[in-house]
Amino acid sequence: MSNTPTTKKHIANKVAVQAEMPFALVEGQPYTQMPTDLYIPPDALEVILEAFEGPLDLLLYLIRRQNLNILDIPINEITNQYIEYINLLGEMNFELAAEYLVMAAMLAEIKSRMLLPKIEAEGEEEQDPRAELVRRLQEYERFKSAAQDIDELPREVRDYSVLSAHVESKKSFAIPPEVDMRDIIMAFKDVLARADLKISHEIEREPLSVRDKMTHLLDVIREKKFFTFESLFNVHEGRQGVVVTFLAVLELLKAQVLDITQKENYGQIYIKSLATEGEE
C-alpha cells in the first residue's frame, strides 16, 4: 500500500504548516520522494485539478500510473487513493465539483460490496460490483483517446492553410429571368378580363366591412397555416376590397392571431397563423 499513514500525515502537515515548512525541508523536492503514492505538492494542485476532466479521468490516471489492469481494479487501493486525493483537495478549500464526491461514494459502495460475503440470491447471479465502474471507465477512456486522435487530425492554420487568390472584381449581378411574350400577353388578357368583371360587378358589390373580412380571413387561416400575403386579396373586390382586407389583416395582427414574415427585402410576404391547436 502506498498511502501509508505517514504519507497522510505528511500531507496534513504540509498543508497546515506550509508557511514554516516549505518543500525545501525534504531536499528541495519532496514530491519525488513518494513516487507511487498520491502526494502532490499543494501549489501544484490547482494545475493538476485543471488537468483532470472529472472523476473518471482522475481514476483512470490513478489506475494507469500504477500499471493496473482496468478490468481487475484493486478497488480497495484505488478507493483509498481517490479519497485521499479528494480529502487533500478539501483541505485546500477547493470547491470540488459534486461529481467527484459522487464518485467517492460510488467507490466506497463498491468497496463495501466487495468485502461482504457473497449472498446467493435465488435465480440471480451476482454481478461483479466493479462491472459498471469498469464499463464507464473504458467508455470514458475510448472517448478520451478519440479526443486525442481528433486533436491530431490535420487542422486549418496549424497543419494546412486554405488557399485563395485575389479576384479583381467579385461583383456579380442577378441574372434577370427569361420572359416569354406569351406570358405578358396572357397577363394582359387576364388583367383585362378582371377589369371587365370588376366593372360589371361594381354595382352589385356590397360594401365589405372590416369585421366581415376578419371573419373570412380567420376561416382561411384555419384551413392553412401558411400563405402568401398576396393570396389574401381578391382583385374582384376592387380597391375598396383591398383596403378592407388590409385593415382586417392589421386588426388580426394587432390581436396577435397572425404573424407576418418576409425573408428578404421585397421578397414574398408570408402570413402565418399564430393560433395554436388548443385554442381551436
Partner: protein, 205 residues
C-alpha cells in the same frame, strides 16, 4: 535550399497570405536559409514565368506581391456568385403588359386596372432591366410619372416597333391561334414550399 523548393514555398505563402506579401516579409520567412533580396526577387520572377499558361498570375501592387486570377477567366469566375434567376411574378407581368399596351400610363392608372397597388419593387425591377422608362409627368396634382416601354424591351422580344404587339382581337383569339402552346398559366408552385423542398433535399445529400 533548392530553387524549386523556394518557389513552392513562395507560391504557397502568396496563396495562403490573403494579402499582398512584400519581399521584406519573404526574407523573414526565409530567415534561416539566409536568402537575399535578390534571391527572392529572382524566385518571384521565375514563378511569374511559370504562370504564363495558368489561370493565375503574379502581380506586384503597392503593398507587395500577390497572385490573382487572370482577367480573361473573369466570366467563369463571376459565375461563382451568380444568383439563379427567379421567375417574375404575375404582378410584374401584368404591369409590363399594361405599360406596353397602355403607354403612356401612370402608376395610378395601372393600379386602377389591376385593382391592386403596384409595388415600387416592380417599377424598379422594370426600370433596372431597362424595359420601361419615364416618358414625362402628368400635369395633375402629384405630378405622376408616365411610363412607357424602351427599345431594349422591343429588342428582347424581337420586335421592331410596338405595332408588332399582338392586337387585342388577336389576344382574344390567342388560344385558338396557338392551341398547341400551353398558354394557361402554370399552377405556380408556392415559393415557400419550393424552398422547403430544396432545404430538405440538401439535407438528404
Amino acid at each position: 535550399m533548392e530553387t524549386k523548393q523556394i518557389k513552392n514555398i513562395i507560391e504557397a505563402v502568396l496563396l495562403a497570405a490573403g494579402e499582398p506579401v512584400t519581399i521584406k516579409r519573404f526574407k523573414t520567412i526565409f530567415a534561416q536559409s539566409e536568402l537575399t533580396h535578390t534571391d527572392i526577387a529572382k524566385a518571384l520572377e521565375s514563378l511569374a514565368d511559370d504562370f504564363h499558361d495558368r489561370g493565375i498570375e503574379l502581380k506586384e501592387v503597392a503593398s507587395g506581391f500577390r497572385l490573382q486570377t487572370k482577367q480573361n477567366l473573369q466570366p467563369w469566375i463571376t459565375k461563382l456568385w451568380e444568383e439563379k434567376p427567379k421567375k417574375y411574378t404575375r404582378a410584374l407581368l401584368e404591369t409590363i403588359a399594361l405599360v406596353a399596351y397602355r403607354q403612356p400610363v401612370t402608376r395610378g392608372e395601372i393600379e386602377e386596372v389591376r385593382g391592386v397597388a403596384v409595388s415600387s419593387y416592380i417599377i424598379r425591377t422594370l426600370m433596372d432591366r431597362d424595359w420601361i422608362r419615364v416618358l414625362g409627368y402628368r400635369d395633375v396634382p402629384g405630378k405622376p410619372a408616365m411610363f412607357g416601354t424602351t427599345k431594349e424591351f422591343l429588342d428582347y422580344f424581337n420586335m421592331k416597333s410596338l405595332q408588332d404587339l399582338p392586337t387585342l382581337a388577336e389576344i382574344k383569339d390567342i388560344e385558338t391561334i396557338m392551341p398547341e402552346l400551353d398558354l394557361e398559366p402554370k399552377p405556380k408552385e408556392d415559393a415557400f414550399q419550393q424552398q422547403f423542398k430544396n432545404e430538405n433535399k440538401s439535407e438528404e445529400e
